[in-house]
């Protein structure tokens, strides 16, 4: 079966020359959660905005493949892309507090998502909105529809955003850090909600996060991004069992494990910051922060297979150990 979303060699450049995304490739299958993970500024949000063609003015994208089912998104005019957005392709964002228009009611904003794409009356659309609000766990949906965003908490607003994204029964949902701005208990509720919706609706979910805890909990597949590139891509089990790229190993070393991490041992950290990748940048983006960097790392890193379906972008062999590499 074809993937719901297939991306190959996606590139995004900003007007100032920054190469924000440098050849990202990934696939999301029906009913699958694919996590795109990486630290702030690694290009994960920009990649998702590029897929939706929602990049800010001045940013340009290119790709060898950017396909939704059999539709080539690169060839679609903005008019046709807009017809697909919010219909089969939906997206929710990191900032629930500001992502809803303060001037309109929840009901009005939810209803227009449906009336834009389907020939239904506003009353029918409001019924559908109430049904979905109930489904995302909001009590008294009728009352909520008449309320304005400022009357709702952050957690409620994010639920509204999720419900709004589901108005047209999308096949692909891109969720860009949907829980980052929320407190921990609400975070857990929202993640549970996404999981159950995905099971019920068979959604393909592209979940963008910097939180490896969320990855462990949600993902079937994981792509680790660094400086605009996917440096490692694997099934979730394989990634956690056998992280191969030095950056992935570094990331995992930063997580405290109850029982295993010792109090007197410092938690891992990766020195330095993400470099700015200008138009002339070459080679591995991680080499300045990598403990195992070699002169060859200034050249384009090879894509290697650690196992079937487990790829990484590094000169080191799949079974390298820290002792040997040093």
């Amino acid at each position: 079966m074809n993937a719901v979303l297939e991306v190959a060699n996606l590139r995004v450049a900003f007007a100032n020359g920054t190469q924000a995304v440098r050849g990202v490739s990934l696939k999301v299958e029906r009913g699958e959660t694919h996590c795109l993970v990486g630290e702030s500024g690694c290009g994960k949000s920009v990649s998702s905005l590029a897929v939706m063609n929602l990049l800010a003015r001045g940013a340009t994208r290119s790709a060898d493949v950017l396909r939704f089912h059999d539709t080539d998104l690169m060839k679609l005019s903005e008019r046709h892309m807009a017809a697909l957005r919010g219909d089969k392709l939906a997206m929710i964002f990191q900032e629930p507090m500001t992502s809803l228009n303060p001037a309109y009611t929840i009901g009005s904003q939810m209803a227009e998502a449906l009336t834009r794409h389907r020939r239904v009356s506003r009353a029918k659309a409001l019924d559908r909105a109430a049904e979905l609000l109930g489904r995302v766990g909001i009590t008294a949906p009728g009352m909520r529809l008449a309320q304005y965003p400022h009357q709702l908490s952050g957690g409620l607003r994010q639920r509204v955003m999720i419900a709004m994204a589901l108005m047209c029964d999308p096949e692909l949902l891109i969720a860009d850090e949907p829980t980052t701005a929320l407190d921990v208990t609400v975070q857990a509720q929202i993640l549970r909600l996404l999981q159950s919706l995905q099971r019920e609706l068979g959604l393909a979910l592209l979940l963008i996060t910097h939180d490896l805890g969320i990855v462990a909990r949600m993902a079937q597949r994981v792509s680790v991004m660094y400086a605009g590139e996917v440096v490692e891509s694997a099934s979730a089990e394989a990634l956690f069992a056998q992280p191969t790229h030095p950056y992935t190993r570094g990331l995992l070393a930063c997580i405290p494990i109850p029982g295993a991490s010792r109090r007197d041992e410092p938690l891992g950290s990766i020195p330095g910051v993400v470099p700015r990748i200008g138009p002339d940048f070459q080679g591995c983006g991680f080499r300045d922060r990598c403990a195992h960097a070699a002169p060859i790392c200034a050249q384009v890193a090879p894509l290697q297979h650690a196992a079937p379906g487990h790829d990484y972008l590094c000169r080191l062999p799949p079974d390298w150990s820290a002792a040997e590499a040093a």
């Binding site: 939706m52 929602l54 807009a82 017809a83 697909l84 957005r85 919010g86 219909d87 939906a90 997206m91 964002f93 900032e95 500001t98 992502s99 809803l100 228009n101 303060p102 001037a103 309109y104 227009e112 998502a113 834009r116 794409h117 304005y148 400022h150 009357q151 955003m161 709004m164 994204a165």
Partner: protein, 305 residues
Amino acid sequence: MLQFLLRRALLAVLVCLTVLVVSFVLTRLSGDLAISIAGPNATAEDIATIRQNYGLDRPLVVQFLDWAAHAARGDLGSSYLYHAPVAGLIADRLPITLTLGLSGLAIALLVAIPLGILSAMHEGTVIDRGIGLVALIGQAMPSFWLGLVLIIVVGLKLQWLPISGVDTWEGYIMPAIVLAFSAIPALMRLTRAGMIDALASDYIRTARAKGLRTARIVLKHALRNAAMPVVSVAAVQLGFMLGGSIVIEAVFALHGVGYLAWESISKNDFPVVQAVVLFLAIVYIGLTLAADMMNAVLDPRLRSA
């Protein structure tokens, strides 16, 4: 909301009182009323009589309280010049000023808002700079000069429109355009700034993610949020147009409230000056209140605050 309105009303009364006291004192400082009423050929005796008849010999505070007490009962006194009730003089001229002001504002909004939106949507491009340049020229052009140029070109050379008076509705066209011209740059810039902010906001990204069409995103989602400062300033501009169109009323020989104000000030017709000031203060306060209420309609957050 009720508390909000009460607070505003109290503030409005205070503003009115302040404006009246200041204008009262200023008119009295500007010269001896009795001398100017009596005219150049009057004797010292005449002047003394006039001073006594008009009550001008009493202390300022007493004069003011006397005037205020009458005004509160709706009696604004009589003009020294026209020998007619002031209220009637203003009421006669109000339709002209109101028509001129409202059509001026309508033209200004119809030009400024689309230009502001266009400018914001093309921020930083040639279109944006072109519109900004036109606004700059508009701001720099004195309205009496523009009025005269229009009279010469459109009125005298082309003979498309009457050059003075408002015997027909065509007489309003040129003065309204000139009046609008002075308001357009500020309104346009506010629209542009508000739209740039709104278009860069997260909820516009959400609207785009829903697949909404550009027209709906711009006109429904962005414009409503950008409109509030425009409404506030448009209200002040209208107040200015209703009271401050003195120059334009003079250039186009329209006998409106502005012209009355100019005439009464230059001839020391003190009751008229005082009444016009009161009228304008009430107009400004009323418009500001109307703008606040319109903003409360536009933004639900203000309603619950």
